[in-house]
Structure formats: structure tokens, C-alpha cells
């Protein structure tokens, strides 16, 4: 109805089960933490008003998903219209780090984004409050991975002690807003193209 969809930024959180996707979402949106979030089944989201660079206000819709691989096939419906995808691994779990790339690929296959090359991803290494002895993924490895995935931003966070969560989501919001506007522009350009196509055809749209 009426005025919907103005500035709703849609963000999807992906990653192996137990890396802290639900916790990150709750920490960011409600500034709360509990040990007792059950394993997510299906998908859920929370919304938060964000103020980006003290300049723009938008509503962010943070989507939390199930971590077990087999549940992804039914859940792709909610990938549609995403403005940013957050990839999360657990710094104490190598496997979750190794799987990051396949989460990204999975997303691109199903989300049907207009420009896969430039679609914003953000990488989060969660649980950095853990004992150093438990940490098995180095920051360096993470940075290398981020670079190889197209220089995407990387943050080391703790949903439990709130380290870096806000900073990371500020960046996520910024990327999402950018993407959202690109898409809107692209849409408008397409629209204009459709109108102007017979007048001239030299407009080419990619403002990135």
C-alpha cells in the first residue's frame, strides 16, 4: 500500500550454524545478548532505524537465516531485493571460515542481483571475545579472503561483548544504502531509457 518501500534497506546475514548470526542481529537491533537463542529455523528479521553519516535516515531490515545448508533451498525467497549481504564466520571455528566463499556464491546464485560484481558484501569474524587459545582463524587470513572476494570490508566482532558490532553495521548500512540508490538509479535510468530510446540512445547507466 501507499508509502511503503521508501528507504527500506534489506540486509541478509549468512553463515554456518552457530557462528552467531541471531546474536549479532539482536545485539545490533536491541543491544541485547542471550546465550539461549535457539537454532534459527526458517527466517526472521528485525528492523531498526539507522542514521547514516548523520545525514540520511533509513529503516534497515536485518534478515536472520538458518545455518544448516539443506534449509537454504526453501529459504531463497527472502534473498530477493537484498541491498547487502553479511557473511559471518566464527573465529574459533575454521570450518565456518572455509565455508564463507560458498555462502557468498550461494547468495549470488539465488538472490538474482542486478550487478553481482559490485553487490556489497561485508565479512564479519565473530566471537573475538573468546580466549586467544581458542581462536583458530587469523585476522590476516580473513583480510586476505576479504581482498580475494573483491576487497569487501571485514570486521572482527563480538555479539556477546558488543565489540565492533555498531561499527560494522554502520558500514553495512552505508553499503546497503549505496546499493539501494544504485538500484533505484538503475531503475530510473531503465525507465528513462525506455522513454528516451527513440530520441537518443547514448545514455549508459552505471554510477558505481
Amino acid at each position: 500500500m501507499s508509502s511503503r518501500k521508501k528507504n527500506i534497506l534489506k540486509v541478509i546475514i549468512l553463515g554456518d550454524s552457530g557462528v552467531g548470526k541471531t546474536s549479532l542481529m539482536h545485539r545490533y537491533v536491541n543491544d541485547k545478548y542471550s546465550q539461549q537463542y535457539k537454532a534459527t529455523i526458517g527466517a526472521d528479521f528485525l528492523t531498526k532505524e539507522v542514521n547514516i553519516d548523520n545525514d540520511k535516515v533509513a529503516t534497515m531490515q536485518v534478515w536472520d537465516t538458518a545455518g544448516q545448508e539443506r534449509f537454504q533451498s526453501l529459504g531463497v525467497a527472502f534473498y530477493r531485493g537484498a541491498d547487502c549481504c553479511v557473511l559471518v564466520y566464527d573465529v574459533t571455528n575454521t570450518k565456518s571460515f572455509q565455508n564463507i566463499k560458498s555462502w557468498r556464491d550461494e547468495f549470488l546464485v539465488h538472490a538474482n542481483v542486478s550487478t553481482p560484481e559490485t553487490f556489497p558484501f561485508v565479512l564479519l569474524g565473530n566471537k573475538i571475545d573468546a580466549d586467544d587459545s581458542k581462536k583458530v582463524v587469523s585476522n590476516k587470513a580473513a583480510q586476505e579472503l576479504a581482498a580475494s572476494l573483491g576487497n569487501i570490508p571485514v570486521f572482527f566482532t563480538s555479539a556477546k561483548t558488543a565489540i565492533n558490532v555498531d561499527t560494522a553495521f554502520q558500514e553495512i548500512a552505508r553499503s546497503a544504502l549505496q546499493q539501494n540508490q544504485n538500484d533505484a538509479d538503475a531503475f530510473e535510468d531503465d525507465f528513462n531509457d525506455a522513454i528516451n530510446i527513440q530520441l537518443d540512445n547514448d545514455t549508459n547507466s552505471c554510477s558505481c
Binding site: 552457530g18 552467531g20 542471550s34 546465550q35 539461549q36 535457539k38 526472521d44 545455518g67 529459504g75 581458542k134
Partner: protein, 791 residues
């Protein structure tokens, strides 16, 4: 022989002359080697006893004559004294004396004394149809001379509590307290003094006039009353009952005819009902939506709509509760008919009987009733259908009883097994479980390669990952439930731990935020890197790991912890819980397949069902891009576990496990949830994400009994619609055939019926919908796991 109850000064009045009254004792006894539900009731006349025996029984009267109202089977047994068999032998032939198993009674009438003291309280015993022996004498309780009754009266007066509106105490109450622990005793609504002993569900339904039978029902009963054989045994009883019923009926009839208006206004003037009345067309919501402030919120983001949708549902819910609480069954009935019966041919309307059956959920399966189902060998002596009827319509009374019943419901015990056979099954299952458990224990302890399921590096990694996943999920499952709450070696709160047990506990972490939920008062150290100490969590983890290797193709999948946790909570036994879980998974495996085909099938079935049964909602969901019903995924996957309280889940699952109407009754339960919420959804929500949010937040907002009633009625309607369509199609095929024969004067053909749309598939042809009519469990198995299978 154990004596459970002894009450003195219980008289038989053979004539109207007081001097002919015979004084005696009421005794309840139980053979020391027999189960309690075989206990016997005796009346022995004092004149057949010697003075020693009388003295002995008088002592018993003061000791056993005043059982506390909260007595349990256990407390009765522990209080019982031994009775010399001589008392019963000596009196066995005495005038008027009798002994009989309590379970052989059909009903007991407890007639309280008059408040003025004009007449004594009395009990009338009615034998079950076909039971031997003549009419039993009415027993009168002379309270004013009975020591135990006098004593209890004094005690009660001392603790007089004006706010308990309990019934007046008299001697018969003590008998009722004891008998109600031995057999299932249910008061009838038609006659408040009448209590049925181990009644069948049909009897309970017939005797509860809480619902208002229609005239057709009464007529049918009138003509069929001759078939009720017990009538011959106790004519007075039946006449009285019939009279009571008729007076109730005529009372209502006159009330409705004369003061229909007054009654209606009584109902509609209740503030909550008024609110709902208005809410029917949703002007409150509409008005609120017009409010500029709300408009503003809505412009910002339409979460306000979800809020309003919930709010309007909440109001309706309140009103329904009010109606239920106040026994305004008639209006609840109207509501149900209106909600569920609309837009259907009259053929598919509900009959009174169908409505009554669905709405009458007040007779849970009690321990006493359950015991009465089995014969001396512990073999079921009623039909499985009857047991399931009880469970489906009233649920199981207590967690303790579930421990027995669920083993049958989940097919661990065959319904036709004897007690000895079950003991044998227990032993076998114990042995086999230990073997399976040893398998993964073996693997984790290093020697990785199991011969049966492939080998190699990848495989050992698979097992490691799976066990890691299991532990992770166990640690975060149902941790608010009492037994799973504290990670301490005995599962109790840390404060109550002995000092030594506290030593290994990691220090509580500082959360850094002030508005801590208060529910994470766990001793867990950082980020899930903690060892499970709670004994119940350890068992959950053991069972899941064993299942993971027991079922190598499927293995552990997220959501299974949700399924196991109530089962273990009920069973409290690792082996039994494991086998219950294995059998439950036979049914639930289809929810967890790698390719998701099983859950997809159910969602497709539900979509078709919704199109057929709730076309308006179906069309609206289409508009919201929600026709795939993705928002039902969680509810279907773990059978509503996340939407209802833990206790409710046990009630819901046992309804679903009966396969009473359909082996996929969960889809009707889901459909009822959709139906229940359809109005607020249609009026307030219009986007995919709003719909998801709405359903994800349903937790603790629904009364599951209401949903269960609706599910049953929806099924009944569905079944009728399918039958109707089938008939109609047959009719048309016949006519088409005739048309072929006659060919020529085709003007007359196809008069009366609407031609079926050509080429359009009718719902009756849908294999998915057809399958809903089957009670046979749908089983879909996982395919063989390979190293590159999806996890």
C-alpha cells in the same frame, strides 16, 4: 488385604420406619498383590460382627475415615492398614451386605444431605450393564453420629475459608475422594450428583449437556433409548436423568423463546463482546489507522500494521476466552459455525453431533481410566480407536501418565501387547540401544572408520562436524525449561549446589549491557566453549549422537533437538526416549530430507488445502507474494514447537500422533492457525515480509484447544467437501453417459447440475488432498548419503 477407607454409621433403610434401619460400615479394600484399580467396595452390617471386630473397625474409622481432599493413589496406599479377612468372610452372607469391584460400577450417585438436616446424605450405586447381582441398597450416611465425619467437620470449620466455594462436606465426600483415586470418576453435567465410573467417551458425551443438543438429537435419543440396556437395571436413575435433561432443555427453550432478546443483550452487553462486535468490521482498527499519529508511524514503517493485526486478534481472543469461561457454548458454537462453515453448500454444514464432539474436550485420559483399559495380563481390552478418541479429544491428564501412553502412541509398544511382552521389549531395546550408543562412542574415541558407512578422511570429518553441531544445538535448546536450565552436575540451581560441584564452574561473564534479560543467568563461559554438565542435556546429546549414527543417511539435522526435548522430558529415561524418538522420526524424517521434498510436499498440500478451504485468505496471500506459504515452514518442520508453550506442545503432539482423522493432521492444525488469523491478515497485511513477521511472532498468542477444535471441524468440512465433489462428479459422469446414449434430444440433458469445467482439475483429483484422507503414516526416507551430499 489392605483397608483404604473405613466409614462407620452408614445405614441401609429397608423401610420408611427408622427402627428398621440397619447400621453398618463402608469399606474400600485392595488385595495387597493386586493393582489399585481392582479395589473393592463393601458394605458390612454391624450386627454380623463381633464386638472385637466392631472395635477394630471403629478404630479404622477414625484413622481412615477422613482422607484429605488432595489424597493421591500413593498417599492412600501408604496410609492403608491391614484388614483381617475374617471381617469380610464373616459378613459375606449377612442380610443386605455386599462386596463388589469398584470398576464394575457404572455410576455412583452422591446425594448430599439437606442443609436443614431433614434427610441424610446417601449414595446410590448403579452396576454396569451386564454385571451380575441385583439392585444394591441405597446407603445413608448418618453424619451426626459418625466419629470421623464429625471430626472432619470440626477441622473444616476451624479452617473455614469463606472464599472457597466448595461443596458442603458430608460423609459421602470421603468415599468419593478415595474412589476417585481408584477409578476415573466424572461428574455429569446433566445431573450434578451423578458420577460416572470409567465412563466411555460416548457416555461422557451423552451425559454432558454442556452443549445444547438440537431437537433432532433429542428425538433420536428418545426413539433409541430402548437400546440403553442399563435402563432395566436402574429405572429410577434413567427416569431421573431424563427428567433432569428435559427440564434443562425446556428451561432453555422457554428462555430462548420468551427472552431471546434479553439473553442476547446479556451477552452482547459484556464490554469485551461489545468490543469484538465492533471489531467485526474493524472500525477500531480503521479508526486507529486514520489517526494522524498512527498514520505517521505507518508511513515510517508499517510495523504498526502488524501490531494492529495482533491487537485485533488479541481482542477477539479475549472475547472467545470470555465465552469459553462462561460456558456460553452456544455463542462459541455460533462463532465456530460462522468462522468455519461459511460459503459452503448446506450439505457440508456441521451437524450438532460434529460440533459437540469437537467442542467437548473436558475429558482427559486419567491414570485411573488408563488402568481400566487393561485386563489382568496388561493387555488392552478396549479398542485402540476408543483410547485414541480419548487422547485426541481430551489429551493425557498428566506428564506421569504420558510416560506410559506415549510409548504406545509412538509405537514402541504394540497396542495389543501384554505386560510380559512389554517387559521383554524393554530388555531388548535396552540391549540394542547400548550397542548403538557404543558405536559412536567408539568413533569419537579415535578409531574412526566404521565399516558400514564408507570411510576415509571426509567421513571422519562428517562425524566430527555432526557431533559438534549436536552439542551446539543441545546447549541452546529449551534452556528455560526446568530440567535443562542449569548446567550443573545434578541439574539444580547453582545456589543449591554442594561446594565441590561449584568449583569447576566458570565465572559469570560480564554482559556490559544493563537491560539484561535475566534469563541468561547461566554459568556458561565464553561463546559456547563450555562442557555440558547438566545430566539431562548430556542425555539429549547422547541420544542425538546415537541417532546420528543409527540413521547414517539422514543423520542429525537442526530442529531434531526441538523434537527430542519434549519426548525426553516426558520419558526421563535415555533408552526409552531414544526409541520413542526413533519412532517419531519415522514420521518426521520427511521434514528433514536434503532436497526438502518432504516439507515441500506438505507446503504444497497446505496450499491446495488453503485454496479449497480458505479461498479468501488464499487469494490475499497471493497478493502478498506469500502463496508459497514459506511462513509456515517453521511450524511444520518442528510441529509448532516454537509457537506454543512447552506443556501445550505435549498436548498438541499427542493429538497429532493419534492419526485419529488423518496421518497428516498437522496440516489441519496449521490450516486452523491460518483460519484463526485470516481476518487480521486480510485486513492489515499486504507484504511478504509483514506476513512472515506476523507468523514468526505468534508465540504464546494462541489457545491451542481452540485451534484443535477448529482443526477438527476443518477436517470434517474438508472430508465432506471431498465426498460432495465426488458425488457430483459421479452424477455428471452418469448424465454424460446417458447423453451419449440418448444423443439427439440433448436439450434435456444436464439439467439441474452445473457442468464441470472442462479440463480443469478438481480438488478431488489432487493426490495430495486425497492423501489427507488417509490415516496411514506418510513415510519418506532420505537417500544414501555420499561424501558430497548437502549437509
Amino acid at each position: 488385604m489392605k483397608l483404604l477407607l473405613c466409614k462407620s454409621h452408614v445405614f441401609v433403610h429397608p423401610s420408611t420406619t427408622a427402627s428398621e434401619n440397619v447400621q453398618g460400615f463402608i469399606l474400600v479394600t485392595c488385595d495387597a498383590n493386586r493393582p489399585l484399580h481392582e479395589a473393592q467396595l463393601h458394605w458390612v452390617p454391624e450386627n454380623s460382627l463381633n464386638q472385637n471386630q466392631i472395635d477394630e473397625l471403629m478404630r479404622c474409622d477414625s484413622k481412615l475415615g477422613m482422607p484429605p481432599a488432595a489424597a493421591t493413589a500413593a498417599s492412600l496406599l501408604s496410609a492403608a492398614t491391614n484388614l483381617n479377612d475374617g471381617v469380610l468372610l464373616d459378613t459375606s452372607g449377612a442380610y443386605l451386605s455386599f462386596s463388589l469391584p469398584i470398576a464394575s460400577l457404572f455410576s455412583i450417585e452422591f446425594r448430599p444431605p439437606s442443609t436443614s438436616g431433614w434427610w441424610f446424605g446417601s449414595i446410590v450405586l448403579h452396576r454396569r450393564q451386564g454385571a451380575h447381582g441385583g439392585t444394591l441398597p441405597v446407603l445413608f450416611f448418618h453424619d451426626n453420629v459418625c466419629p470421623s465425619t464429625m471430626q472432619k467437620k470440626r477441622d473444616l470449620n476451624k479452617n473455614f475459608d469463606p472464599f472457597t466455594q466448595g461443596e458442603m462436606y458430608w460423609g459421602g465426600i470421603d468415599l468419593r475422594i478415595v474412589v476417585s483415586q481408584i477409578v476415573d470418576l466424572q461428574r455429569t453435567a446433566a445431573d450434578n450428583n451423578m458420577w460416572l465410573v470409567n465412563a466411555t467417551l460416548d457416555d461422557l458425551r451423552n451425559f454432558s449437556s454442556g452443549d445444547l443438543p438440537s431437537e433432532t438429537n433429542l428425538a433420536a435419543e428418545g426413539s433409541g433409548s430402548g437400546s440403553k440396556g442399563s435402563k432395566d437395571n436402574a429405572p429410577g436413575f434413567w427416569d431421573k436423568l431424563e427428567a433432569a435433561r428435559w427440564s434443562i432443555m425446556s428451561g432453555i427453550a422457554s428462555a430462548t423463546s420468551k427472552t431471546e432478546r434479553a439473553m442476547a443483550s446479556l451477552v452482547s452487553n459484556h464490554p469485551v463482546v461489545k468490543l469484538v462486535e465492533k471489531n467485526q468490521d474493524n472500525p477500531y482498527v480503521a479508526k486507529l489507522l486514520r489517526n494522524p499519529k498512527v498514520q505517521e508511524i505507518q508511513d515510517d514503517f508499517d510495523s504498526a500494521r502488524i501490531y494492529l493485526a495482533k491487537w485485533s486478534l488479541g481482542v477477539t481472543e479475549e472475547a472467545n476466552k470470555y465465552k469459553l469461561d462462561h460456558q456460553l457454548n452456544a455463542s462459541y458454537r455460533q462463532l465456530l459455525t460462522k468462522d468455519l462453515g461459511y460459503n459452503v453448500d448446506t450439505d457440508a454444514d456441521f451437524t450438532e453431533e460434529e460440533l459437540n464432539r469437537a467442542m467437548q474436550r473436558n475429558f482427559p485420559l486419567t491414570q485411573q481410566k488408563w488402568d481400566s483399559f487393561f485386563d489382568a495380563q496388561g493387555r488392552l481390552q478396549v479398542t485402540v480407536h476408543e483410547v485414541k478418541d480419548f487422547i485426541f479429544h481430551g489429551g493425557v491428564d498428566s506428564m506421569a501418565l504420558r510416560q506410559q501412553v506415549w510409548l504406545f502412541l509412538l509405537d514402541v509398544y504394540p497396542w495389543d501387547s501384554s505386560r510380559d511382552e512389554r517387559a521383554q521389549i524393554d530388555a531388548t531395546l535396552e540391549e540394542v540401544y547400548t550397542q548403538h550408543k557404543a558405536q559412536w562412542g567408539h568413533r569419537t574415541s579415535g578409531r574412526a572408520h566404521s565399516a558400514d558407512s564408507g570411510s576415509g578422511e571426509d567421513d571422519s570429518e562428517y562425524w566430527k562436524d555432526q557431533e559438534f553441531r549436536i552439542e551446539k544445538d543441545v546447549k541452546r535448546n529449551d534452556r528455560s525449561v526446568d530440567i535443562y536450565k542449569y548446567n550443573t552436575p545434578n541439574g539444580l540451581a547453582p545456589e543449591s549446589q554442594p561446594r565441590s560441584a561449584m568449583d569447576g564452574v566458570a565465572p559469570k561473564i560480564e554482559d556490559g549491557d544493563d537491560d539484561n534479560d535475566g534469563d541468561d543467568d547461566d554459568d556458561d563461559s565464553t561463546n559456547g566453549h563450555w562442557t555440558i554438565r547438566n545430566p539431562h542435556l548430556i542425555v539429549l546429546s547422547n541420544i542425538l549422537k546415537t541417532y546420528n549414527s543409527f540413521s547414517p543417511n539422514l543423520g542429525y539435522v537442526q530442529g531434531m533437538t526441538d523434537l527430542l526435548s519434549p519426548i525426553y522430558y516426558i520419558m526421563r529415561d535415555e533408552t526409552k526416549a531414544f526409541w520413542c524418538f526413533v519412532h517419531f522420526m519415522d514420521r518426521m524424517e520427511r521434514n528433514f530430507l536434503r532436497d526438502q521434498s518432504g516439507i515441500r510436499d506438505q507446503m504444497l498440500t497446505l496450499t491446495e488445502l488453503c485454496q479449497l478451504m480458505l479461498p479468501q485468505l488464499s487469494a490475499h496471500l497471493d497478493k502478498c507474494d506469500s502463496s508459497n506459504l514459506f511462513f509456515c515452514f517453521r511450524m511444520l518442520l518442528v510441529w509448532f514447537k516454537r509457537e506454543f508453550a512447552f506443556d501445550d506442545i505435549c498436548g498438541i503432539w499427542e493429538v497429532l500422533l493419534t492419526d485419529f482423522y488423518s496421518s497428516q493432521f498437522q496440516l489441519f492444525f496449521m490450516l486452523a492457525i491460518l483460519q484463526k488469523n485470516s481476518k487480521p491478515i486480510i485486513e492489515n497485511l499486504d507484504q511478504f515480509d509483514q506476513v512472515i513477521k506476523y507468523f514468526n511472532d505468534l508465540h504464546n498468542t494462541m489457545d491451542w484447544r481452540d485451534i484443535a477444535i477448529r482443526s477438527e471441524l476443518l477436517f470434517v468440512r474438508f472430508e465432506k467437501m471431498m465426498a460432495l465433489m465426488e458425488r457430483q462428479e459421479e452424477l455428471q459422469t452418469d448424465q454424460a453417459d446417458q447423453a451419449m446414449v440418448i444423443d439427439g434430444d440433448n436439450e434435456s440433458v444436464q439439467q439441474g447440475t452445473v457442468p464441470l469445467p472442462q479440463g480443469k482439475r478438481l480438488p478431488i483429483h489432487s493426490p495430495l488432498l486425497q492423501q489427507l484422507l488417509s490415516k496411514k503414516m506418510v513415510i519418506q526416507r532420505e537417500e544414501t548419503r555420499t561424501t558430497d551430499s548437502v549437509r
